[in-house]
Symmetry: C2
Subunit: 126 residues, 2 copies
Amino acid sequence: MAENANTRILRNLWDHFEGRKWDRAAELLHPDFVADWPHTRERICGRENFIHINRHYPEPWKIEVVRIFGAGNLVVSELAVRHPAGTSFCCSVAEIQEGQIFRATEYWADDDHEVPDWRSQWVERF
Amino acid sequence: MAENANTRILRNLWDHFEGRKWDRAAELLHPDFVADWPHTRERICGRENFIHINRHYPEPWKIEVVRIFGAGNLVVSELAVRHPAGTSFCCSVAEIQEGQIFRATEYWADDDHEVPDWRSQWVERF
């Protein structure tokens, strides 16, 4: 998948998060940015709140970008965030408007779930 | 986002799942289809195993397609699966090869997580 102007915005966002460059990360977000986190039904309104949360996320953590691709004004980022309790996988679907990230839905999957017995016969683990 | 041949494959897959038309769903999957579910680190190898699991998923459940969009040979499906315990949100990133679904990573976010105290001041609920 080719990088384009929109995918570069998200790649820069994750780079700035990883570098804890919060002011530079904030510049990539629209002032009225809204993020939804379905696993907790949290809605984070405004770029300031979103930066506050990420800045205060308990350390240590490290973001790895697994894949980024764009489709029109949407950009999908697949991430693996390593921390002492394990790995949190994230699929972020972001909407770009006029060069800034306007909206995002971030599907967070912590890797601490057990495999239910009823389906264990049909799966492998990775 | 416009539908195209690839997004239609995924839309048909979810329609067949919702209709419990398992044989028709299987036709959309490559025989060597592999799915990864990061939240449990499950890897499901082969379309037969994938169909078995979905066919045996404890009833009742109902799939709603929130958004589908394509990017080259990738198709992203955002789903809400309603069941008695709540809603499971899914972001599925599927790879199409020669008209069949060859690979998928499905980020499952159950909505039963609590909001940690440290960030509750910065979020709303939806």
